[in-house]
Each structure stands twice: as C-alpha cells, then as structure tokens.
C-alpha cells in the first residue's frame, strides 16, 4: 500500500506490476505529494492562495552584466536588469548570496532548491526541495501538489525536485504533456485505480486510529497527549485522502489556450523555456498547483537558436568563455533573452487578476543559478532574482561578496509567506534580511 495521498504527476511511462508501484524511489518520484481539497469558491476568511515557481538556469548569468553596482532601493539597473525595467518594483535582486557549503560545480544544481551541502562528497544524500516541502503541506489545495518541469533535460532524468527521502522526481520536459495532464481528462481506469488506492489508505488509517483510541484508555494524562497527537495526525491525513478522492471525480479546468507544440530540437531551447513559462502561468491561473520547479538544463544544451541569433558554439561551451570577446557577446545575447522571457512572464502574470490582486502579487518567483560564474564553476555569489508574491520589492539586497549570506533564508521567507510556521529550511539561519512582505 503506497501512501495514497500522493497523486501521480504522470503515470504514463512507468511500469507497474498488478497496478501497484514497486519501489520507493521510483514511487515517490511519481507521486510527489498530497493532493486534496476541492476548490470551490473560497470563503472570504480563507487565506490568500500563495504560489511558488523556482527556476534554475544551471549555467548562470554573466556576473558583471547581471549584478547592479549600488545597493538599496535607488540602485541603477544593471544591463541585464534593464530588460526587466518595466517590473522594477515587482522584484528584488540579490548579490553576495550562496547556499552554504553547496560546492562541487555542476552537480550543485541538484541542490538549488534543497541547499543540501556537498553534492560531490561520498556521504551525500539530497534533502527535500523547497517546492516539495510546499507541496507536502499545501498540496491538498490543488489538483496537483506540484509540477516538476525541465528544459533540455536528458530524458527527464534530472530536476530541481527532491522528495523528503532524497529521491529525485523526474521532470516533465514536454509542454504538451504538461498541458494534457492539466487539462485533458484521464482515463476511467486510471481514475478508478487512484480512488481504490485512496480507499485502501483510508481503511489502513481506520485500523490504526482504532488502536490509538483503545490505547488512550490505558495510559495516564501525560502519555495520552502523545496518542492524541498520533490520532490527530491520522485524522488529518485521512481528510487529505478524502480530498484527493474528490479531485479524481472532478472535471479538469477548461482553457482557451491551444495545446502547445513542442519543438523537436534542443536548439530551440528558448522556445521551450517560453512554453514552460506558459505552462507555469496556466497552472497558476487555473489554480492547478501552487508549487512548480523548472530546471533549465543549459549545461546539456547544444548551440541554440532564438530570435535572429544562432550561437556558434554549444551553450555549455560558451559558458567556459575564457574571456573570449566573441563568446562573451553570444552569452550576453543568451542571457538577455532569458531576461526578456522572464519579463514576458512577469507581464502576463500581472495581466491576470484574482480577487482584486494580480497573479504576480500572489506568485513568488525565484530565478537564479547554482553557479556564481560558469567560467570558473564557483558556487558562491549566486545570481538571484526574486519577484512577486506580495513583498516590498524594487531593491538590490547586497550582501558581503567575500562572506556570502545564506540564500536558504529566502526559502524560509517564502514558506512563511505561504503561512507555514517554520524558522528553518536546510542551512537557513532565519528569514531573508531586508525582505519585507507587503
């Protein structure tokens, strides 16, 4: 019996024996987290829906073009941030931040949303990623607890999303698949199988709850408190299973947007990025999920084509520019296009309104990289932009570039914005200094 509140993100290509999943890593990968509560019209007292999108471009951005020179609210936009000029008051840019002790060059992208130290060391095991932490707690509110997306990820076998057991959740790399998942009705047999699993889960919980009740009679007041806590946990999980079941029978939302057409070639990297941004926006717009991760696997990308640009060299190769002028110019064109796509996403999210607020006001977007400078593979001084979500933005939070400030503190701020009472996430030491919610 697998934990049945997890809703499979994609049951398609997985092999199953007699309808039951086989092993935990695989199984957890398929079923990232809880799903639940049917979203009718929320009562006025219900907390505002909060959303999160985490994007990692694993080749980063040219630091001298990205980081602003001045700190604070009156900073001058850097060349890259100029592209985001229209949204200046909707984002904060950071400098002097890092994930403490996350080293090892390229494999550090595994830890972009987990901040688990030393991805290269022999005892390494990843920890839960921010999007999954959110999904475990907010998942019941939407049809999908989370979406794990990627661009140019080889066979979907990497992503930013890791379960609480340190297992990777493979990503969806095709926008069309994500679209189908969100908006096309699943088959009856798939739905039935899921409902059956949930019902089995409920009967398990009935059995253990019954035992807890019986035991409570045997123990003193102090020990009863512990069993009460057990009992409450079971009931809460049960409620979530019930909610998940209800999702199974509800029709999926209808959208006017057409089914996207995925480019076949990895050269169309930027088109793919745009499509994934579209999917993220649609997911948030229809409240299909509250938590999305997106890995832009630039490391694994060939020479790419966008607008009128055709790079002469593979993206990864360009990043080892060795200060070559030609390579730097091409990288700059790439980076600026990244900023343009991000700007378009911000604009679209601003254009959607929900209960009198823009969707961007309720969507926290972290865009950044595991590399501070791809040319030298350093994992300090990470480039990072944080947009939307109802914070007082419009500033450059500049920290010490010699002794970096922990970026996981931003994760704690994000979680608290979700209304989750936590002071800790990975190596965080508190909330992000200088970042205030509106």
């Amino acid at each position: 019996m697998h934990i049945t509140t997890h809703r499979p993100l994609s049951r398609r290509a997985f092999l199953r024996g007699a309808g039951i999943l086989i092993s935990l890593p695989l199984l957890e990968a398929m079923t990232p987290a809880f799903a639940g509560v049917v979203r009718a019209t929320p009562p006025a007292s219900a907390p505002k829906p909060r959303r999160f999108l985490g994007v990692c471009n694993n080749l980063g951005l040219l630091p001298d073009q990205f980081f602003p020179k001045e700190a604070g609210r009156d900073y001058t936009l850097s060349p890259y941030l100029e592209v985001l000029q229209a949204h200046r008051d909707q984002f904060t840019v950071f400098s002097g931040v890092w994930h403490p002790d996350v080293d090892g060059g390229h494999p550090a992208d595994n830890c972009f949303l987990t901040a688990a130290p030393h991805p290269g060391s022999a005892g390494f095991r990843n920890t839960i990623s921010l999007d999954q932490y959110i999904a475990e707690r907010m998942g019941p509110l939407t049809r999908f607890p989370s979406l794990t997306l990627g661009v140019n990820v080889l066979q979907g076998q990497r992503s930013l999303s890791w379960t609480g057991s340190g297992a990777l959740i493979p990503c969806e790399e095709k926008a069309a698949d994500v679209f189908a998942l969100m908006f096309l009705q699943g088959t009856k047999s798939e739905t039935d199988a899921q409902v059956r699993k949930l019902e089995l889960g409920q009967s398990i919980l009935d059995a253990v709850a019954g035992q807890a009740r019986d035991l409570e009679r045997k123990v003193g007041a102090r020990d009863r408190d512990r069993l009460d806590q057990y009992f409450t946990s079971v009931r809460e999980l049960e409620k979530r299973m019930q909610m998940s079941k209800e999702w199974e029978n509800r029709p999926k939302p209808k959208v006017t947007a057409p089914m996207p057409l995925d480019p076949a070639s990895p050269k169309a990297y930027m088109d793919k990025v745009k499509l994934m941004y579209d999917m993220a926006r649609l997911a948030f717009e229809t409240d299909s999920t509250r938590s999305i991760s997106l890995l832009l696997d630039s490391v694994n990308s060939p020479a790419i084509e966008f607008g009128t640009v055709k790079t002469t060299d593979g993206y990864h190769n360009l990043s080892h520019h060795g200060k070559s002028k030609e390579k730097l110019a091409q990288l700059q064109a790439i980076d600026e296009w990244h900023m343009k796509l991000l700007s378009d996403l911000f604009a679209q999210l601003k254009a959607v309104r929900e209960d009198g607020e823009t969707l961007l006001d309720r969507t926290m977007i972290l865009y950044g990289s595991n590399l501070g400078n791809a040319n030298t593979h350093v994992t300090t001084n990470l480039p990072a932009i944080f947009a939307g979500g109802g914070f007082r933005h419009g500033q450059h939070l500049a920290f010490n570039t010699e002794h970096n400030y922990p970026l996981p503190n931003l994760f704690v701020s994000i979680l608290q914005r979700f209304g989750l009472e936590t002071e800790r996430f990975a190596s965080a030491t508190g909330t992000m200094r200088g970042l205030e919610a509106t």
């Binding site: 509140t5 092993s23 002790d101 060059g105 290269g120 889960g201």
Partner: protein
C-alpha cells in the same frame, strides 16, 4: 532558571501537586543569608525571596528552588564578598530543602513516571524494520522527517512529535520496506558470478577521449596493460580490448584523480538487480604515471606507466544516480595487482563507484591546477581491471522476510506491464527498472490472512498479542480484496497498517516498575537501538528479565553482540554531535589543504566510534574520555595528528607518544570539527560544548542582547583578543570564566582538529604559504598571530595548554563518570536527570567505583538501577 531546558516545564506541567509551606527552618536561613540582596528592594538577579512562593507544583517554581539549592550547595551563594553561613547550618538547610523537593518530585514520578510515552525515532524505526523483515540493507532513516531532540537526544517523548507528514512518510516507508523484503522472483535466482571489465564500462573508457569540455590529462582515464601504457588504444587507433582472453585479464583503466566531478568512473554495466547480499571483488593496483614534458612535468603523461610507489587507499561507494552516494567499504590498492573482496548489502539499482581517495581533485581556480602529489618524475595513479559480483546471495529461500509475510504460500512472477503512455512511441528511459516482484497465491485468502497476520503481529509487536489484535487489521485485508486487489496487495496493506500502528511505533510503559516486556524493549533500544530479539523476548515471556542476574546477563549479551555498534553510533551521533560531521566543510581558501579531503573526514568519524567501543568492550575507566594513552588512526589520521606514520586505510589502535596532545575524545579531529564551523573556531562555543557534553556542567544561556563576535580571518587580531574586551566586563566575566577555559585550551586545534601554533589568515599580511591543495590550486592563506592556549579554570587552577588542562580535568574523574552516566541515562530512558534522580546517579557511581568507573560497569549499573527499571 535560565539554565533549565524549557522541556522541564512541559514535563511537569500536567500533574498537579498541592502547594506546600517552606520546609521547617528554611525561612530563617534565607532571611539570615539571602534576603539582604534578594528582597523586594534590591531583587538581585530578579529574585525576591521574601515574596517568592514555595509552590512546587509549578514547574518554574520548582526549578527555581532547585537552583537556590544548587547555588548554595556549590558555595556560589552567598557570593564570595559576603559572610559565609555556618557549614552545619547550611547543611541542615540544604537537607531540609532537598528532602522537600525530592518528595514533591517523587510524587509526580510515582504518578506518571520519569519519562513520557514516546514513538521510535527514525534510527530505531529503521532498525526495527531491518530486524523484523530480515532486510539489513534497508535505508529508510532519511525518508522520515528529522526527529526533534530534547536534552540533546532524539529519545525523549516530549520532542518526538507526530504530524500528518510524519504519518504519510510512515505509510510510504513501511510499504517500501515490506516490498523490499519480499522474494523478488518466484524461484531462487541462481547465484551468478560475473566479471565487469573496466574496458567494457563506458564510464571508464569514455573519459579516455578528450573533448571540448575537457582537455586535461588529469581528468582523463587511460588504458594500461600490466605496467604498460597503450597510446594506440588511448588515441582510438586500436580496439579498446583484446580478443585474447589472457591479454584481456591484464587490461585495466587508470586514473590520477580521485572520483569527483567531472571524472567519476563507475562500473556502469552493473546495477544491483535486487536488494540484498552481494560479494564484490576488485582487481586493482597502484601505478606511477610519468611526468609531462619540460616545465609541464606535473601534467601526467598517460602513456608512460610504471610500477606504483606505494599503496593507495580505495573507497568503494554505491551510487544511485543522480548523485546519491553511500560508502560501502575500503581497501588498499597495492603496487602488485591484487583482488580485494567486500561483503556488502546493496539496494536495487545501485551501481559501484571506486574512489582512490588520496589522489587529487582538480578544481578550476586562479590558475591551472597542479597535482599536489606530482613529483618531477611523475605522479601516482590507480588502475582497476575488473569488478566481480557474486550474488544476490541468500542464506534461505524464500528470504526470511518473505516467509514472515507469506509463509510457504505458492507464488508466481509478476509481469512487467508497460502502461499505455498516450505517446506515439514510448520514451526511452535509462532509468533502472526494478524486478517486477511476485504475486503470492492463496486459495482461502481470509483464512490465510488471519493466520499470517497473527504470525506477523507476534514478531512485530514487542508484547504478547491476542486474536483481538489480528481482528483489528483483518478489515484492511477484506476491504482490499473487496475492491479487487490481489491477495498480495491486500496483505501488504494490512502489514503496512501494522508497521504504522501505535503499538509498533510507540514504546509502551506504565508508571512504576516496568513489566518484563517494557524492560526488554528499553534494554534493547538502549544497547542495540532496535527491538528485542528472540532471546530477550523469551526472557520477557518467562517473566525472568526483571531478575537482577538475568538482566545483568542480558546486558552483557547485548553489549557483546555486533548490534551494539548501533548503540555506539547513535549515542555518539547525539552525545558528541557526530551526526553533524558533514554539516560544514573546511573553508576552500583558508583550509584548502583539508577541503575536498573526504578520506580525512571519513577516517575522523571512525576514530571516536572505535575508541568508545573499546571503552565499552574492555570496561576502561571513564577518565579516558578526557585523556588516554591510545587512539585509533589510519594512515591519513596519523599524518593529520603528526603521529609516527602507519600504512593503510584501516583504522587500528595505536599507543600515543607520551607528549602527544591526542588521546581521549576531546582532541579527536571529529569533535574538533563539529565544534568549529569550517572557517573559524570559537573558544566560547567549544568551551560551552566541553562543559556541557564532557564535564556535565551546562553553561548559562546566552543573553539575547549580546551579539556574537564576528569572526575575523584577516589575521590582525585573534579571537582571544576580541573576547578579552568582552570578558573584562563584570556582567560578562562571571559566565565566561566558566564557559571559555576549555575552549582556550582547544585553540591549538584548527577547524579540522589539526595542530596549530599560529592562526591562519587570508588577504594581505604575508605571502601565501607555499603549497598546493587537494584541488590542485595553490594555498592562499598565510600564518598570522600565535595561539595562546592558556587559561584559568573557574576554581583558579591554571593551565598552559591542552596537555595541562587534561591533567587538571582528570583530577575529578568522578565528575567525568557522573556526566557520562547522566548522558547515558537520558539516552536510555528518554527522560532528563531530575533533582530526585540525583541520589540514584550517585549510587550507580558508587557501585562502579571499584572499576575506576569503567564504562561498561557504568552501563551495567545504570541498567540495574531503578532509574532504568521503572518508567
């Protein structure tokens, strides 16, 4: 008051004890000696004893009176400047107060016990699943949320909470574990012995070719035949492997780097097909790789191979892509090709990654990397020829875990069904596909279910079961079958329920003397960190265990069993914080000589475990915690400590030279690492740590208003100088005089526990120290101000350095033993040592005194004590 953990209050909050008047004679004493300052006007330290109630039912009030007792008892109050109370008078006061305190607390203990009901922590849960399902390979600890800790341990009910996330994880962990323990196939698979030649592994041969990302020979692999390089093969002009089987046996692939991005060769053709027991054999040897031409002598010439100059330590790691690594074992690759065998438990899908850990790990930086091990005539390398896998090995069939779940019911193989994808063509997945497993067949499902569940519950629960227990879980089977699930799935659902049920997850204890079952559980979760085995259960069944001689014999048996390493590891993980070993890394610049040195970190972690295991095994005196004339090292650690060199990767006991600052746990690299932050050390933090963990004298809580000292690595000022200003203020001095001294003595040890006479610094202030780091980059630090490791203990005794401090601490070996017993008793009973428990701690010490407080004696006496045998 501030020193008392918050949990103490919660502990006592629920139980009400009527308020009582101040014991006879106490009021007069307080008025004579205390209320001059502690009155309504002066209220020194916020305490007004004229108005302070004596209401022991209130936990905060109780704690305050304990503090009054202790400060007077230690002679700290009245303060030195004030007249001393007459000794007899003070003794009378203390005895009267303490009797009253004890009686109040004892009432609470009689009512509810010292400890609160608790669930298993994740170490225990993992071990419980491993033992019950006979599946030692299970790795589920990290799949459960991190446990809360109280009084420094993960064994205390108050901190071991439940939540829906925890519950959901239990469900998935239990389900996973049960499936892992089932027979993977209907028939026992034949034991295969298969050789995986490195020449056939793409992961080994791929990096022979240079590409646009990598043109560095240090990051390439290279073909070797015996002791010959193979330029033609390397250049791709000759086939990778010979058709001649005899030649093939001599072919290998070499590296000059240790496994790290981007050069991490693996035996990628092997993935453990099923979880279980395997034997791995490796044919490997060390080589010498010739120098590059002219000025580039440090760049290896991969075609110029000769006999290795020394042994190379090898770490064998299991890898679940992407990037989940688990150390399996070590051996030394000798210059003579040899076969090394490891006996291992593998998870399905794991592949094997060897790492020659001493070799360098090239990292980009200020300049091109330069192998620090390179000499003008070449550099060391390691060649692997093949890995042989034998397994999966079964000592019984079907596996014991399967039999527990399904008895001898017939089974058939499940068929892999590709679920329709909706895609025109299925996506190719390189992901490992686990065995589809088996379907167990039952003609009479409900009859079999009742029988099997009965047997399973008997093993799973740690007390006698009844038919009612079985009936509780039968509806799960019935519901599953009713909705069309197979018998196998229905049973797995019911077993999942059992493994998540309160009686499995919680330890059950009733106030008063523990019954034999609860005692058996307490004993085995103490000394094995896992549930009782058959013999212990038998003792409980026969109601024998509570008999002192039986309990003693069982204690000895458990300590002698290899499973006691679970205790050693788990206890030290929390007592000494060893679980935090990887939390921070040596700074890449300031300590670049330690940076990336996994071999050092791993070796350092083993040392205290081996050491403490010996203290337990041989009943060595507790004073060894502070100072011993031996320790455990391997080659890397011996070099780190500056001890006479030893060879090889295995840790072994060595006698320390008489003047060595090492010996004891205090000066272990692991302890010195977890008490530092990778960049700097703080005498305050280390001092507090030693006071609390080793001496059992917890420091006062840090006042919130005082900011921590900002570490400065520029070299112009030492931490001691920074602290001096602070310590000179009267309000700070009192606490710091207690907290800092031991920390000062440890200032001679850097963030990795290496000896230092001077601090390291970065930036201007001196030319960088000559030398090259493991990363291949030049050192960028220099040595700055000298270390002053002298100090004064709170009682006025002075020391110059760690050697003298150790001697001073040894003078009170009883206190070292007392602290150890206290730590052990929190770990063993899940409850703090309270005021009323102090007497029992003292009797444990008294009984262990003849052994000079032997660690094993202390453990045995603790187990015999009512602290342990009562809830």
């Amino acid at each position: 008051m501030k020193t008392l953990p918050t949990f103490a209050f919660i502990l006592m909050a629920a139980i009400s004890v009527p308020a009582s008047p101040l014991p006879p004679g106490c009021r007069q004493f307080l008025e004579a000696h205390c209320t001059e300052c502690h009155d309504g006007d002066l209220k020194k330290g916020g305490l007004d004893l004229t108005a302070f109630p004596y209401d022991l039912a209130q936990p905060a009030n109780f704690a305050e009176w304990v503090l009054v007792h202790d400060r007077i008892s230690r002679g700290e109050m009245p303060p030195k400047k004030k007249p001393r109370p007459d000794a007899k008078e003070a003794a009378a006061f203390l005895s009267s107060l303490s009797a009253s305190l004890i009686s109040a607390e004892q009432q609470r203990i009689d009512l509810a016990g010292r400890s609160m009901q608790r669930r298993l922590n994740r170490y225990e849960y993992e071990n419980a699943l491993r033992d019950l399902l006979h599946a030692p390979w299970l790795q589920v600890r990290d799949a459960l949320p991190e446990d809360g800790e109280a009084f420094r341990f993960n064994k205390v009910g108050e901190a071991l909470d439940m939540s829906h996330v925890q519950m959901a994880r239990y469900l998935s962990v239990a389900d996973y574990a049960l499936r892992q323990a089932m027979a993977p196939y209907a028939e026992q698979p034949a034991v295969k012995v298969h050789r995986y030649y490195t020449r056939d592994q793409g992961s080994y041969t791929g990096p022979m070719k240079f590409d646009v990302f990598n043109t560095a020979p240090e990051r390439a692999t290279f073909p070797v035949l015996g002791l010959e390089g193979q330029p033609e093969v390397r250049a791709g002009r000759a086939p990778l492997t010979s058709t001649n089987p005899a030649v093939r046996e001599l072919e290998g692939v070499g590296v000059v780097a240790s496994a790290y991005e981007p050069i991490e060769p693996k035996f990628n053709q092997f993935r453990a097909p099923v979880p279980g027991h395997y034997k791995l054999r490796f044919n490997a040897y060390s080589v010498w790789v010739g120098p590059g031409k002219g000025a580039e002598w440090y760049v290896p010439d991969l075609d110029n191979i000769s006999r290795g100059h020394r042994d190379e330590p090898i770490t064998i790691t299991a890898d679940t892509p992407p990037g989940r690594l688990r150390t399996l074992g070590h051996f030394d690759a000798t210059p003579e090709p040899a076969v090394h065998e490891l006996d291992v438990w593998l998870l399905a899908g794991e592949l094997i990654r060897p790492d020659a850990g001493r070799l360098f790990r090239s990292r980009p930086g200020r300049g091109r990397w330069h192998n620090p091990l390179a000499e003008t005539n070449g550099q060391p390398g390691v060649v692997f020829r093949w890995m042989e896998v034998e397994g999966p090995l079964y000592d019984q069939w079907p596996p014991a875990g399967h039999t527990l779940m399904f008895g001898d019911l017939p089974m058939t193989n499940r068929v892999l069904i590709a679920v329709s994808t909706g895609d025109a063509k299925p996506r190719r997945r390189r992901q490992f596909q686990p065995a589809p497993g088996v379907e167990v067949l039952s003609k009479e499902p409900m009859v079999d279910a009742e029988r099997l569940l009965g047997g399973f519950l008997k093993q799973a629960y740690r007390h006698p079961t009844t038919p009612a227990d079985v009936r509780r879980f039968l509806p799960v089977v019935r519901a599953a079958l009713a909705q069309g699930d197979s018998f196998t799935e229905a049973m797995l659902a019911a077993y999942t329920a059992v493994l998540c049920s309160p009686e499995f997850v919680y330890l059950e204890e009733q106030p008063g003397p523990l019954d034999d079952y609860a005692l058996a559980s307490r004993l085995s979760f103490f000394l094995w960190n896992s549930p009782p085995d058959a013999e212990l259960r038998q003792c409980a069944n026969g109601h024998q265990l509570h008999r002192p001689e039986v309990l003693r014999a069982q204690t000895e048996r458990l300590l002698n069993d290899p499973k006691s390493t679970r205790f050693i590891t788990a206890f030290l993980d929390y007592w000494l914080d060893l679980r935090k070993m990887l939390d921070t890394a040596p700074d890449a610049e300031l300590y670049s000589d330690y940076y990336l040195d996994d071999l050092l970190t791993e070796s350092a972690l083993e040392e205290p475990r081996d050491f403490f295991a010996e203290l337990v095994r041989d009943d060595l005196p507790a004073r060894n915690i502070v100072a011993s004339d031996f320790t455990y090292v391997n080659e890397r650690l011996a070099a780190h400590y500056g001890l006479p060199p030893v060879q090889g990767v295995a840790l072994r006991r060595v006698k320390l030279p008489p003047d060595s600052p090492r010996g004891g746990l205090l000066t272990d690299a692991a302890v010195l690492k977890v008490t530092a932050n990778g960049t700097t050390t703080s005498p305050v933090l280390r001092g507090v740590w030693v006071m609390e963990r080793i001496l059992g004298q917890p420091a006062p809580a840090k006042p919130a208003s005082v900011p921590a000292i900002e570490p400065d690595t520029r070299g112009a000022v030492t931490i001691r100088q920074q602290l001096e200003k602070h310590r000179s203020q009267e309000s700070c001095a009192a606490c710091h005089a207690k907290m800092d001294p031991a920390g000062f003595a440890l200032e001679n040890f850097d963030v990795m526990g290496g000896w230092r006479d001077r601090y390291r610094a970065e930036g201007p202030g001196g030319p960088p120290e000559p030398g090259i780091a493991k990363s291949g980059q030049k050192f960028s630090f220099h040595y700055a101000l000298p270390v002053d490791a002298s100090g004064v203990l709170p009682d006025g005794r002075r020391f110059q350095d760690i050697r003298e401090l150790k001697r001073l601490l040894l003078a009170n070996e009883e206190q070292l033993a007392r602290n150890l017993v206290r730590q052990l008793s929190i770990y063993a009973t899940g409850a703090p040592v309270r005021f009323a428990d102090r007497g029992q701690i003292e009797s444990i010490l008294a009984r262990a005194r003849p052994s000079q407080y032997g660690v094993r004696s202390l453990i045995c006496e603790l187990v015999q004590s009512p602290l342990f045998t009562k809830k």
